[in-house]
Symmetry: C2
Subunit: 411 residues, 2 copies
């Protein structure tokens, strides 16, 4: 029984391994240049004057390093049971399967993301496959007897406590996986933004886990912390190489990997509502993008800002279309945007029949930021958007711990 007295705590092992995963990512990313160019896994950085060609979908390396370190870490999380044969019999299979299911969903998303990078998948796959990949999570959640307050007390007074919305909650969790993976992927296109926002969210989640380590679900939060450690570390290494001027692109692979990791810790850590609070800027960006995402108004393939080659500064990318091209709902939205100034847009009479030519900034928070603060260099833009993300996390903590009575039963 004394065998494990000398064992370091899992959390400190996790910390050391996180540092190791940072170093591995940090040193291996610059070395993949040649391999990626040979395989033609490259993309042009259009926001630079000379449009350099950079390795694309480097997220596959980050994801692989993450998985390798998590695989190596898991035995330490259960070291007491592995090192002492007498404890194998009361091995906590239910807790072990939390890690297995989480990593399974994450691994599926890395695979899906990399496939998306290579093949440019259709939207239906990006919605259906994450849903299926979240099935193991939902099963583990279901059989784990995990508890999350389902209906916020605030709403409960209206819809009644006894109403059985358990099924709806599973639907919510499954949609959370789809939302997280895609929300990061559409809030992208500027050096450092994908990795940067993920780093901020990841640190926010880890802070919340630390706060909750003394709470009711301390074990779930501890496990979440285990999973966030190598995630934050590998993401930081990626951000270093992806920061302006980027030497690599993260790819859809990274966005899917990051999004699913957040969904996994949220669901299995039983704080899936709190996770959504950390996505405030992504939710805003998604809602703002809805008219284009659902093709109510035209949506070009890339909506990221354009560089003005004379000034070297980024400007919002514009979308030019005729009012007659689009259907009635799109016309209503266009007129609303023109009237409200929700996006920079102008209209000029075009052709006959009172048709109008509309010039409108593409509907992303990134372009909105450029329209509000004016043209700026790429790193400044990323810095502003990341500050916004930090504010979002601060707001999330405020809601979670100050306005808590609206949403949660206990503190």
């Amino acid at each position: 029984a004394g065998v494990f007295i000398g064992l370091p705590s899992p959390l400190s092992t996790n910390f050391v391994m996180s540092i190791a995963s940072f170093l591995l990512c940090f040193h291996s990313i610059p070395q993949i240049q040649e391999t990626f160019i040979k395989a033609n896994r490259v993309g042009k950085d259009l926001n630079k004057r000379n449009s350099p060609v950079l390795p694309e979908s480097v997220g596959v390396i980050v994801g692989a390093v993450y998985l390798v370190f998590m695989f190596c870490f898991i035995p330490f999380a259960f070291a007491r049971h592995f090192s002492d044969p007498y404890h194998v019999n009361d091995f906590p299979h239910d807790k072990f399967s939390v890690f297995l299911a989480g990593l399974l969903s994450i691994c599926c998303m890395i695979l899906l993301g990399f496939t998306d990078d290579v093949f440019d998948l259709k939207w239906r796959y990006k919605l259906v496959l994450p849903t299926i990949a979240s099935l193991p999570l939902l099963m583990v959640y279901y059989v784990g007897g995990m508890s999350t307050t389902i209906i916020p007390p605030f709403f409960r007074q209206y819809i009644g406590e006894s109403m059985n919305i358990g099924y709806l909650y599973y639907l919510y969790m499954s949609m959370l996986a789809v939302f997280c993976t895609n929300a990061i992927n559409i809030y992208a296109g500027v050096n450092g933004l994908e990795a940067g926002q993920s780093l901020v969210i990841g640190v926010g989640i880890a802070m919340n886990n630390v706060v909750q380590l003394n709470g009711d679900n301390h074990e779930q939060h501890l496990y979440s912390l285990y999973m966030m450690g190598p995630f934050i570390a590998t993401t930081a290494a990626l951000l270093y190489h992806n920061w302006f001027p980027a030497s690599v692109f993260v790819g859809d692979t990274y966005c899917y990997f990051a999004g699913m990791t957040f969904a996994v810790v949220g669901i299995l850590g039983t704080f899936s509502k709190t996770v959504l609070l950390f996505f405030i800027p992504q939710i805003a960006n998604f809602l703002y993008s809805v008219p284009q995402l659902f093709r109510l108004i035209p949506c070009p393939r890339h909506r990221m800002p354009r560089i003005n080659k004379e000034t070297g500064l980024l400007e919002a990318s514009k979308n030019v279309f005729l009012l007659s091209e689009i259907k009635a709902p799109g016309r209503v939205i266009t007129r609303f945007i023109l009237a409200s100034g929700l996006a920079r847009a102008t209209s000029t009479p075009a052709g006959k029949d009172g048709d109008m030519q509309i010039t409108m900034s593409n509907l992303t928070m990134i372009n909105l930021c450029l329209d509000i603060f004016g043209p700026m260099q790429e790193d400044r833009l990323t810095a502003i958007l990341l500050c916004l993300q930090v504010l979002g996390v601060a707001l999330a903590f405020l809601i979670r711990y100050r306005l808590v009575f609206l949403f949660y039963e206990h503190n």
Copy 2:
């Protein structure tokens, strides 16, 4: 409690789902042509007169369909616990984690295989990463208290029963994962061979599972059967499209996927020694390839047969090198091959100092088969090699159930 009386048995659900996965693969593979060409995921079929360009690494579709169906199937395997809330409390987490760990390892290998297809990974990654991907399997095996006779009784009389070789057995299982994934990948290069051999091995494993359904480890064999169902089905669909003249290539992705699936069911089904018996042709091919794999004699990038464009028949590919180019162990092997006729080889005096130019068929079973039976059309070659595989499976059953006393404690 009566809720689940009307439920179909998991095995029949699995059967129906396997058919569905066959149909999905069968119909979707022909439709990916354009996507793969656009993404430049293509390869030339050099064994045809006109070297047509075919989609490469279609295994990623097969693997994805397999995962989707397994994810959807798992709830049915535990339907009794899912459909009846009272049974959730005695949910068999240990059995559930068998599936999670198995699918996690398989998903990792699909990812690794696809990365290998895209980047052409170095050998060290092909050896190290499957080892790490097998860690979750070994953990599940360890904590599951699963039993496999470790030392064959035949050997036990020599090395003693009490010797603690438990650790060696874990090493064996981890190497099994590496061996299975790579052995199929190097026994390849002819239309239909990768999918064909996997189909034969898969059916062999499933037959063995059926035989053992009344045995001591019937549950493990049942689970293995669950995993083999969709595997056999999707592989059959792939074989149809990959059969001569192939319209798609399977890619490393498929080989890794298939190999890991076999390792997974072998380890978690507690018949990891029997699995190796099903790999007799692959073992023979591996051993025969050793001089080239370990670079004792030169090894070209591709060792597959060549087409004779005049006859349209395949012939063994040749390797031409000078005896002076290679080191002493390679020279010994070359002289042995020349003397024994183990491969078709000729030597002619070259240059000064008694140097010799060697012309030798590349050391694969495929080339050996062509040298023995003479040039033939590609489909006939595949058919012969698959017959050999069927004989191998028959031999495996013979050893397992007739010479059993050498290797196993009970029948």
